[in-house]
């Protein structure tokens, strides 16, 4: 097992190196000149040259890359020019915000999509099946920023049910002591229900936005995998033995159908974590996505590189974890390098 994991990690290394190189080149190809930008509106050519030298941007590309790689090897992701903070610290602070949002979105999505998928699978071709398909497809067809804007407009501005879209907590609350970095968990640990409620209220709309977008893949996978299982011999046996349809579907079929769904969940999570940049922008969410977008617009190299690398590493790790889990759940599946 351990050997397998090591082998898998070794295989992932070339991909990560590829990511590092491509990101480096891509950021250098951005049209903005960080030196001119950060030298301020009144800077002379000399002042810009000074800033450029200070930032090490006057060196040839290979030299810059070697320096970057050396820093990277020491775990130093550089410093953001726009926010003035070390990239590693900011990513560490912002990752829980994105992860908490994405996870909650995924949980909501699962709560809706899995029952829908099962329902559709038990009556394929029926009206329910078509309705389910139309509903989930409609969700994935909406641009997330549009969904987010409409939710804010309706639930905050018109109805007043939701709190102001101002990030993770209302201004007059202070964040719970950071243990997990997830406000929901931290506030529960601190037994501060008031903060818990406030944090949850902030989370609901953006999480819902993400959930609507991620219904489709989960519902589809549930449906497909349920269909396959329902057609299998052991289900037929169970039915033949006179078990109620409910017991058959929930106890027998569902458990066995969950495996591909779990895989899909992993993929959806890693996709959403990177894709919720637009949601974060709409809800002023202090996550890593909005951080990366702003850095990209400002031609701020270090955060973009740090963000992409973090996401790539997470992607590799997540895939590995899924494969291992898969192997544990179903011994017939072996991890292949």
């Amino acid at each position: 097992m351990l050997a397998m994991i090591l082998k898998r990690l070794l295989v992932a290394i070339p991909s990560l190196i590829g990511v590092v190189i491509i990101t480096f080149l891509l950021t250098r190809a951005l049209p903005g000149d960080p030196a001119a930008y950060f030298a301020g509106p009144a800077a002379t050519q000399e002042a810009i040259a000074q800033v450029r030298a200070k930032l090490g941007l006057d060196q040839p590309l290979p030299t810059q890359f070697m320096r970057y790689a050396a820093d990277l090897a020491r775990g130093d992701l550089g410093t953001s020019l726009t926010t003035g903070q070390p990239v590693a610290t900011e990513i560490r602070n912002r990752l829980p915000a994105s992860a908490e949002l994405t996870l909650l979105g995924l949980i909501i999505s699962v709560l809706i999509a899995v029952p829908l998928g099962i329902l559709a699978a038990t009556r394929p071709g029926s009206l329910v099946d078509h309705a389910c398909r139309v509903l989930t497809t409609a969700g994935v067809s909406l641009p997330v920023f549009f969904t987010g804007l409409i939710l804010v407009y309706v639930f905050y501005y018109l109805l007043g049910f939701a709190p102001a879209p101002l990030g993770r907590l209302d201004v007059f609350f202070s964040a719970p002591e950071a243990i997990t970095g997830f406000y929901l968990l931290d506030s529960l640990i601190a037994r501060d229900l008031e903060t818990f409620r406030a944090a949850l209220a902030q989370l609901l709309l953006p999480a819902l936005t993400l959930a609507i977008f991620s219904l489709a893949p989960i519902a589809r996978m549930t449906r497909a995998s349920m269909l396959a299982v329902l057609a299998s011999d052991f289900v037929r046996t169970a039915r033949a033995n006179g078990l109620t349809p409910f017991t058959v579907v929930v106890t027998y079929a569902f458990r066995n159908a969950m495996l591909p769904v779990v895989t899909t969940l992993g993929m959806v999570f890693s996709f959403l974590l990177g894709a919720n940049v637009l949601v974060e922008k709409v809800f002023a969410w202090p996550g890593i996505g909005s951080y990366a977008v702003e850095a990209l617009i400002a031609s701020d190299f270090a955060p973009v590189q740090g963000f992409v690398l973090t996401m790539a590493a997470l992607y590799v790790a997540l895939n590995l974890v899924i494969d291992i889990l898969y192997g544990l759940i179903d011994p017939r599946v072996r991890i292949e390098a």
Binding site: Y37, F38, V51, G84, Q85, G160, A164, D170, F173, Y291
Partner: protein
Amino acid sequence: MKRRDFLKSMTAVAAGSALPAAPAVFSPARAQSRQETLLIVSESGPNNIDIHGVGTNVPGYEVSWNCYDRLISHGMKTVGGVPYYDRDKFKMELADDMSVGDMSATFKLKKKATFQDGTPVTAKDVKWSLDRAVTVGGFPTFQMKAGSLEKPEQFVVVDDNTVRVDFLRKDRLTIPDLAVIVPAIYNSGLVKKNATEKDPWGMEYTKQNTAGSGAYRVVKWTAGTEVVMERNDNWIGGPLPKIKRVIWRMVPSAGNRRALLERGDADISYELPNKDFVELKDAGKLNITSVPFSNGCQYLGMNVTKPPFDNIKVRQAVAYAIPYQKIVDAVLFGLGKPLYGATSEPPLAWPVAHKFTTDIAKARALMAEAGHPEGFDTTLSFDLGFATVNEPLCVLVQESLAQIGIKCTINKIPGATWRTELNKKTLPLYTNVFSGWLDYPEYFFFWCYHGANSIFNTMSYQSKEMDAFIDGARAAAASGDTATYDKDVKGFLDTAFTDIPRIPLFQPYSNVAMQKNVSGYQYWFHRRLDYRSMVKA
């Protein structure tokens, strides 16, 4: 806990969170703190809280303005019902007394002045701070130079309590330049303690920490998210501010900022689209102030070094083809001062209206005279960072220019790249805003029209006549020769409007929206908020 109980409590929590969240959840202590707290929302926040820093952005200036003191500041007057800084009236901040001689000015410090850590403010701190401003390079040094403050030798410690600033040359802008944001006074002892060999001016420390004697200090700063400032109860720069705590949150979406204001969650906001300000004003639920930018205007610039805009007839044709009123109405929703269609001689000030109007027939005739009866193709560029105004503006200009045969491709340039592109001085046609801190016409013209070709002369405009007028006005201002000054100002205004290398479009308004219970807003040359005068009822 049994599973069922747990589920029950979870449902209760979930149900509770669906209720209107804001006021109900405040415990009494939180409601109390809300009254003494000013909640500001704006699009972007500081990247550095020291204005001397490398590349400190404009939101960073606001922190510096409120957390540091200068020797002197400005008094107030009233313009259109709004308290407005008085260019010609100085008030003492850290200084107790200022005496201006022929070639120097002497400042006596307030005796009781202390920094926020309790150490007294001395003349040494003042000299160190001013030395720092003229030495570190970049924007602060540039701004000091605008007032002929260039060398550390100019700042002399007379005694513990007295500083003398020697003038390099006679310059009307020297004293006003000591009242801008840059010459802030730093706690030199504290900063030096945190300086390193590589960083002798302690820039890394002041980037994250305030080290001044100002009315507020930063207690928490999460870059891109929020800045929390608390009042310095020992401030001696003026009357003790009423606001104890300032929370400044960054909300990127303008729609959300407006919603926050309308629902009463935020106390004050600026940087909203003009339309929102107009509607909020009409709705009457909020206090809205709109003040024209001092010393600034939005303009359409043309590169005069290259065809076709090297031809004065083409430039005049363009000036006759701009839909000025449409821009003010549809783009600005009326929140801008028109700068076109003057029927009399311009007053000797800046910005002032020029004589062009929208006259397509005249524009066509000029195009024919210029040898372009069929028109030509060009590119119209704008800064995406200000797309709310720039994009509709450029679309209107594009449409209007098409009528005289000029076919523009619109080129939107991201904020980060804008400065670089503009500095190259190769954009043929573009729109931009320039406004100076020091509100003097000759200051504006020196940067924007003088043949010395500063980076703000984005058109690369060169004219011997113009240079003579500008230099003449500067010299006359320094020596107090009013007659020559007036003649030269008239001269450069006339030349600028005849040669028309850049077409002033309108004077933008600085708009601020605040709750009815918030008062005390003052307009400053830097157009950022001064928390010290704000009051929340």
